[in-house]
């Protein structure tokens, strides 16, 4: 029971961070209709920014969020404007060209990082890395002992706050509403006077900025190496599929489910099998729930 609850807590904390990665990808997928397989590599760039800020200037990784996100935002805009847009225009046999393009971008980013920063594992040795809260400190003779890691909790809270800000941006501001309109129906949005072209650029930047922020939140609790991008790209698209393409709420649920599922597999089946669990849930979702969580939510709403 104790280990189960502990695993559940770890899963939720991990899931909150995963959700942030997934939202960035699902936004891009919703608006652009392309799968960004360079997503994890963008996160890796964000992590390196946070790392160097810490190593050179001693800036706390959590503060780097406000540095890394804007940089990633502009990197995303650059990628969309000069690489993805030209490809959307050319005519080719395979429509999957854009996906393959993002793979190329990811390769360049990952290997440039290897060349520039070597493939050493790095981490930010923050002072609070091993700090934790224990249940017994607050509740004498508690029946079970649970602990809450400090950096994990702070990262989780940050992720929730960023998600909240994003929700506010998407549902209350003009630009946010235009982005959602573009995702729902491109032609209708165009007819309503939405600058679809600009929305696409903004969305890609936004997605990149979000994943950059996620990178900053991950670095105090994780280690960093240039080829970690691939792993997080896979995680991001598993979440996206679980949640339903282009659905932000779905991505949050997807992230939580994946986080919990992964820590459960790690505890009860074995550490090495955690990635298999990840893909199992992915394939099951693809086959039995192709619309993702979003379709379930919609069905529920329809029934009401």
């Amino acid at each position: 029971m104790e280990s189960f609850l502990q695993t559940l807590i770890a899963g939720v904390l991990l899931g909150g961070l995963y959700a942030l990665i997934g939202i960035g990808m699902t936004l891009i997928m919703g608006v652009m209709k392309i799968i960004n397989l360079a997503h994890g590599e963008l996160m890796m760039v964000g992590m390196y920014i946070a790392f160097w800020m810490f190593a050179k200037y001693g800036i706390d990784p959590y503060l780097s969020v406000v540095i890394a996100s804007p940089i990633l935002f502009f990197l995303g805009i650059f990628i969309q404007k000069f690489l993805v847009n030209p490809v959307l225009k050319v005519d080719s046999i395979l429509p999957e060209n854009q996906v393959i393009l993002t793979v190329g971008i990811g390769m360049v980013l990952a290997n440039l990082a290897t060349i520039l920063f070597t493939s050493d594992y790095r981490s930010t040795p923050v002072s609070y890395a091993t700090k934790a809260w224990y249940l017994s400190d607050y509740w004498n003779n508690a029946p079970i002992e649970l602990s809450l890691s400090f950096p994990w909790t702070v990262s989780f809270v940050f992720a929730v706050v960023i998600t909240g800000i994003l929700w506010f941006f998407l549902s209350k501001t003009d630009t946010g509403k235009s982005i959602r309109a573009t995702a729902q129906d491109l032609d209708a949005a165009l007819l309503m006077g939405v600058n679809v072209k600009r929305m696409r650029v903004v969305t890609f930047g936004l997605g990149a900025g979000l994943v950059g922020a996620a990178g900053c939140l991950f670095i105090p609790i994780y280690y960093l190496y240039p080829s970690l991008g691939g792993k997080f790209t896979l995680i991001a698209f598993v979440i996206t599929i679980l949640g339903g393409l282009g659905s932000t709420i779905g991505a949050i649920f997807g992230g939580l489910i994946l986080g919990i599922f992964e820590s459960m597999t790690a505890t009860y089946v074995g550490m090495g099998w955690a990635p298999v669990g990840r893909f199992l849930i992915f394939v099951v979702a693809l086959i039995f729930l192709p619309g993702g969580m979003a379709s379930l939510l919609k069905k529920k709403r329809m029934r009401k």
Partner: protein, 321 residues
Amino acid sequence: MKKYLPLIVLAVLAVLPLIGLSTYTMHMIILVIMWATVGMAWNLLAGYCGQVSFGHAAYFGVGAYTSGILYSHLNMSPWWGIPISIVVVTIFSFLLGLMVLRLRGPFFTLATLAMGEVMRVTAENLVWLTGGSTGILIRERTWIDKTHYYYIILAIAVVTFLVIKLLVRSKMGYYFMAIREDQDAAESLGINTTLYKTIALCISGALTGIAGAFYTNYMGYIDPEVVFALHDVSIVTIMIVMVGGVATLSGPFVGAAIMVLLAELVRSQLADLVRSMPSLGAAHQVFFGILLILIIIFLPNGIVGDFQKIKRMFRVGGACK
């Protein structure tokens, strides 16, 4: 002339070892032909049938491990892996197809990618069968000389080429292309799309598996990180075809030659630099990435597919005037 070009190329390739090339050159040529075979197999599924797979490492790896497991568990010659892998990989592809072929477009792409990764992690964790991350080492090499390996892979490549050429020119090939262009339209014209997609997947998988089994025999060592690699197998395969030419017969050869030679060129040119700065070992991957981006933007159908476009580019004051 054009009709006999494959025959001429084959004749040249057949006498190539007789002029006494160095072992190193032979190794390069063998790699080019092997990757061209995998590229042709991928091209059948993706280029002709329109199902872009990001998980050809799964078939390559299963083929390679068929050979390896026959050797390590049953004490058979790993060469048996080549015929046996056809059966094993075909069944494997069929089972995989049951799952992934329900999906379309990008969903299929992602599902195959996931499958490739699942196979890698499974191979790493099923230690009793695959030996885990330690891999399988073939202790006895059949030949020291590369010539035998060369003719074997050349034969495999020729068979692959013929199979794909015949398939593409047959009725089934046109069905494949109909599915690629518009699956719903193909379905409404009475083509059993699921059946033909499964056939394309099985053939493509089996051909890739043979190349994988050859890899085990040739390299003498396999481990999950190498044969189930996402970047070094699945994505390299895609790049070979993208660079060479999607839905062309000769594209994979051109692509494989360019990719293998480019990697080798960068590696040998930078060899001195790498010694002082080991991180430059990844430099060829950067070139791959840049090449892929440029090809997709400027020559979306590859060098062979957009050959006319290239010709036009270099003709001064041509038809565009």
